[in-house]
């Protein structure tokens, strides 16, 4: 029998020290909505669990540089109830709120969703589209890394041994800009994205698209930032022709697999549909955000 140790320190320094001193598999516990399921089904048997929910920095949302710093362990329900955050980044908030049921929303966190490194994670495409940056603590101190650079493959991250994501910073949203996230699931709830699409776009004073970031989820080993799809929008009006180009560019970028949740062919087709629909929502938001 393997004994498991549980620690819930009050500071990030203590977390780093605990991880550094641990031998064998150690895991960070934020909401636990992935970790506990993985433990229950025997996929992981950690020797040490470090709960980060007692740490203020990891559990609060604060305004910073016109944007927001969201603690890695802040739960989806709290994100959804943050009026200012929701106004600035409705797509990110929607994505966070899509994770799991009402009960799961009281636990599931952005940090957990990111570090679980599922290609189908709902919040990750929206965070990447928003240009979010993580604050990471580790044995060598702090570093800042774009969210896009965390996941390296299914279940795998670029985090070094003993490193922990402490918070995620969302920049100030530009004027005349809007973001949106849509996912496709066969049901209405309690499911995992077959395809996800996040769009963050900005309009110039003439209503032409001046900047865009298009990110697809569940169609490759990690969330895909598709610059060709963004280029389809930038420099002109977001009209039907632009949306058709976006649709085609999204489909062309997909590298999905066949699995129990959907076929590669189906995922590819739906990625274009979702990108187009998400762009429509982002456009409306950008227009009303001037």
């Amino acid at each position: 029998m393997n004994a498991m140790r549980y620690e819930a320190p009050g500071s990030i320094d203590e977390v780093v020290a605990l991880l550094a001193a641990a031998d064998g598999d150690s895991r960070i516990l934020a909401g636990g909505t992935d970790l506990l399921v993985q433990m229950q089904s025997g996929f992981v048997k950690p020797g040490l669990i470090v709960d980060v929910k007692k740490i203020a920095e990891a559990t609060t949302i604060t305004a910073e540089d016109g944007g927001f710093r969201i603690g890695a362990a802040v739960c989806g329900a709290e994100i959804g109830e943050h009026a200012d955050l929701k106004e600035a980044w409705p797509g990110v908030v929607e994505a966070a709120e899509l994770i799991g049921s009402v009960q799961i929303q009281a636990r599931a966190s952005l940090g957990g969703n990111l570090c679980n490194a599922s290609p189908a994670a709902d919040s990750v495409p929206a965070l990447i589209a928003a240009g979010a940056v993580c604050s990471i603590a580790g044995p060598k101190g702090r570093r800042e890394v774009p969210v896009a650079d965390i996941a390296t493959g299914p279940g795998e991250t670029s985090l070094g041994t003993g490193e922990v994501v402490v918070s995620i910073h969302l920049p100030a949203q530009s004027p005349r800009s809007g973001d949106a996230y849509l996912r496709f699931i066969p049901r209405t709830e309690m499911d995992i994205a077959v395809v996800g699409a996040a769009i963050n776009l900005s309009l110039d004073e003439n209503g032409q698209c001046s900047a865009a970031r298009v990110v697809l989820g569940a169609v490759a080993p990690t969330a895909l930032l598709v610059t060709e799809a963004a280029d389809a929008l930038i420099g002109g009006p977001v009209d039907d022709a632009a949306l058709e180009r976006l649709d085609a560019a999204a489909r062309a970028a997909c590298r999905p697999i066949d699995d129990k949740r959907g076929t590669a062919d189906y995922r590819t087709k739906v990625s274009g549909v979702l990108a187009r629909r998400a762009a429509g929502i982002a456009l409306e938001r950008a227009r009303s955000n001037s």
Partner: protein, 755 residues
């Protein structure tokens, strides 16, 4: 008496359910809630091969682990001979049940149990499972029903000879049985048709999806008597199967029914129970076994996946001249798919001269199929009602009218033999026509479909005891586990017969040693059969109350009548007496003849066939293939709704399960024969937000064979939805979906094929 025109005091009232408070507070004890001091944890080891010969099992290391009290394999169970067992609607074989509970010689599917342990803790039990060394010879496997039927397919059971075929085949195959039902001459019938539609359908196995995983506690005393607590659809079935599989006397086993968190047919057989009993007998300690959800999916019964062909011909005016169906159903690893019931029910809603249905029961390397709500019928109805819809369109006749023109009525000879008594199919069609849903406008990409369904409903053995307490309250003891609200319905019927307030009646489920034998809760029998037993037992109480009153009044018993809960003189000739209430008589019982207790043990005959017709509206997203059910109405003949809220709940629940079956539920197996989606995340049953409020209409055409006119209602409502959804999808996008599930990728592919 058929209940017509009766003025009821309690029948038809929406009373508070007797089990409700304990269930909403969490106090109710389900299978896994029971514990005993010194209890061990039992766990099973399951094969991860879909088909493998078990060359050897070495349990020595597991035995040696401190805390392990017993390890068992098939060698510890008696190798029992073949013997027909009657648990549910279809017969099975105790030998197959034994081999399903614990693999003997071969593991036949991913999830098949090969060994079990009992240990002092769950983690020790888990560790022990890891120490059991099974030496397998992996064999080629077959999952698909058509592949399994081909000559040269891997043989799941090496000695299986097809039944129902003359001459008897010499060589074994995976076809366990061929069945055929005939009426008239279909060849001649098709010649008279102006239009014939024929289509092939396929469906995937689906799970019953009950919320409560299987759970059992068994405790054996030094004298060899074992107590068993578990949730099931029949504690007498659990007792019979455990006794047979372990070679025990029936009286050595006492089975206590726990509250049950859903069964839908999936709990009419044993899985863990015989193993828990054996482990308890070996260790002399209580043993608890509880399945995980993954084990439920990998190890317990789904209903069959199928390949079906249906052909229907009709005249220009819409008179059906002939109907044929060929149904091949997966049985899983052992014979016993519900294909016979599929054959019997496929065309039963219609008055047809010429019908032929042929069924094949086919074994494959999947878990043994178990009953699922109207076993076999939803599949056959999916095919038959889809072809009817297509035929109606080809004839330019409204699908509802085509059904009206051919509807079965009293006196119609059913395709499987009997002539129907009074039935309410036509009344369900009329209710559909009259319902505002039927004529409500539809928007773009929206469609409406209707479909009908039939279930013969069952009766059978049932026992009830009605004990009058000294204060005039009453305890009604029943023999069937309460899955669909039977305690509420039985209390209502007892209160009606006794003429007392429902609050004075307490219904309970007796265990196997305290109530007479009763069949499983299944076949939509309980409100009908148990209701008859309760009415008879309550009538027995009334007879005793009249006798006691006669003793008090010093008159003949015939001189006393029972009305509205009171004994009254039958006429003024008997004499002038103040009415005596049940409570007054009960208070005096000790002095006048002793306790008052009524009982009945019956074999109920004359179950009334049930019919339903459903209306479904869908909207299809043409870009993603996603189908949303917008509106749904279920109409059904209940004979007499004893507790209408429960009847409505049955209609809604059946429709919800049928919609899930139609849209997204399926087992996903890899090429390696392993199940890839053993959980509710990826086995996509509908969640609450996926469904609209399901409207219900109860039609009441009383069953003359029941004192209050009851027909079973639990199974019919899952029969129409598969075709109702498919017909609605066709109406929305002009594509006939013949393969289930109609999941988004399938719908999108079908739309692209059409374009």
């Amino acid at each position: 008496m058929d209940g017509q025109g009766q003025d009821f005091k309690w029948i038809g009232k929406r009373t508070v359910r007797p089990d409700g408070v304990d269930k909403v507070t969490g106090r109710a004890n389900f299978g896994a809630d029971f514990s005993l001091p010194g209890m061990l944890v039992g766990k099973v080891l399951r094969s991860t091969h879909p088909h493998a010969r078990i060359l050897s099992i070495d349990t020595e290391k597991a035995h040696a682990l401190p805390g392990v009290k017993a390890v068992i394999t098939a060698a510890d169970l008696p190798d029992i001979p073949s013997e027909e067992a009657h648990f549910g609607e279809d017969p099975t074989d105790f030998r197959h049940v034994s081999h399903n509970v614990m693999a003997r010689d071969k593991a036949l599917y991913d999830g098949h149990v090969v060994a079990a342990v009992a240990a002092t803790s769950e983690s020790i039990a888990d560790e022990a499972l890891g120490l059991i060394e099974v030496n397998y010879e992996v064999l080629p496997h077959v999952l698909d029903v058509e592949e399994a039927m081909k000559p040269g397919a891997p043989l799941v059971l090496e000695d299986l000879i097809t039944g129902g075929v003359t001459p008897t085949p010499k060589d074994p195959s995976n076809i366990a049985k061929r069945v055929q039902f005939d009426l008239g001459d279909t060849e001649a019938g098709f010649k008279k048709a102006n239009m014939v539609v024929e289509r092939r359908f396929t469906t995937k196995p689906v799970h019953q999806g009950y919320i409560e995983p299987h759970a059992v506690v068994a405790s054996t005393s030094e004298d060899g008597h074992t107590l068993v607590w578990c949730s099931s659809q029949g504690h007498f079935m659990i007792r019979a199967a455990c006794a047979k599989l372990l070679g025990l006397d029936v009286s050595q086993l006492r089975v206590m029914p726990a509250e049950i968190g859903g069964g839908f047919g999936g709990k009419i057989t044993v899985y863990l129970e015989p193993l828990a009993v054996l482990l308890s007998r070996k260790t002399g300690r209580p043993v608890k076994m509880v399945m995980t959800r993954e084990e439920v999916f990998r190890g317990t019964g789904p209903t069959s996946g199928t390949v079906m062909t249906v052909k229907i011909g009709a005249t220009k005016k819409g008179q059906i001249t002939a109907a044929e169906a060929t149904l091949a159903y997966q049985a899983g690893a052992f014979p016993g798919s519900p294909v016979g019931l599929g054959c019997m029910t496929a065309f039963a809603p219609y008055d047809l001269e010429n019908v032929k249905t042929v069924g094949f029961d086919v074994v494959v390397n999947r878990p043994k199929a178990t009953a699922y709500r109207a076993p076999g019928a939803p599949l056959a109805a999916f095919a038959a009602e889809s072809v009817l819809d297509e035929l109606a369109k080809a004839l330019d006749i409204e699908p509802l009218e085509l059904r009206e023109k051919n509807a079965a009525k009293e006196g119609t000879k059913a395709p499987y033999g009997p002539r129907f008594g009074p039935i309410g199919y036509v009344e369900t069609l009329q209710a559909v026509r009259d319902h505002p849903h039927y004529s409500a406008p539809l928007g773009p990409n929206q469609g409406r479909g209707i479909a009908s369904g039939f279930w013969m409903n069952f009766g059978g053995q049932s026992s009830a005891v009605v004990n009058v307490n000294e204060d005039g309250t009453v305890v009604v003891t029943l023999g069937h586990p309460d899955i669909g609200g039977s305690r509420a319905s039985m209390a209502l019927m007892a209160a009606e017969v006794l003429g007392i307030d429902i609050a004075k009646v307490r219904p309970i489920i007796g265990d196997t040693h305290t109530i007479g034998f009763s069949d499983i809760t299944g076949g939509s029998k309980v409100t009908f059969a148990s209701g008859m037993a309760v009415v008879e037992a309550a009538g027995d109480v009334v007879a005793q109350l009249r006798e006691r009153t006669a003793m008090i009044w010093e008159v003949e018993a015939e001189g006393v009548v029972w009305e509205d809960g009171h004994a009254l003189p039958a006429s003024t000739n008997v004499g002038e007496f103040e009415p005596l209430s049940l409570a007054q008589i009960a208070a005096m019982a000790a002095k006048i003849g002793g306790p008052i207790s009524g009982r009945a043990s019956i074999n109920a005959k004359g179950a009334g066939p049930g019919f339903g017709t459903h209306i479904c509206d869908v909207e299809v997203d043409r870009e993603t293939g996603r189908v949303v059910v917008l509106r749904y109405t279920a109409v059904q003949d209940a004979g007499r709704a004893i507790h209408p809220a429960y009847v409505e709940g049955q209609l809604q629940g059946g429709a919800a399960q049928g919609i899930g079956w139609a849209l997204n539920e399926e087992y996903v197996y890899g090429d390696d024969g392993r199940l890839q989606n053993p959980g509710f995340l990826d086995y996509r049953m509908p969640v609450a937000s996926d469904l609209p409020m399901i409207d219900t209409v109860i039609v009441e055409v009383p069953n003359p064979n029941h004192p209050f006119g009851v027909r079973g209602v639990g199974e019919v409502p899952i029969v129409p939805p598969l075709a109702a959804v498919a017909n609605a999808v066709e109406n929305a996008i002009g594509v006939r979906m013949a393969d289930l599930p109609m999941s988004p990728p399938h719908i999108l592919a079908a739309l692209e094929d059409k374009a």
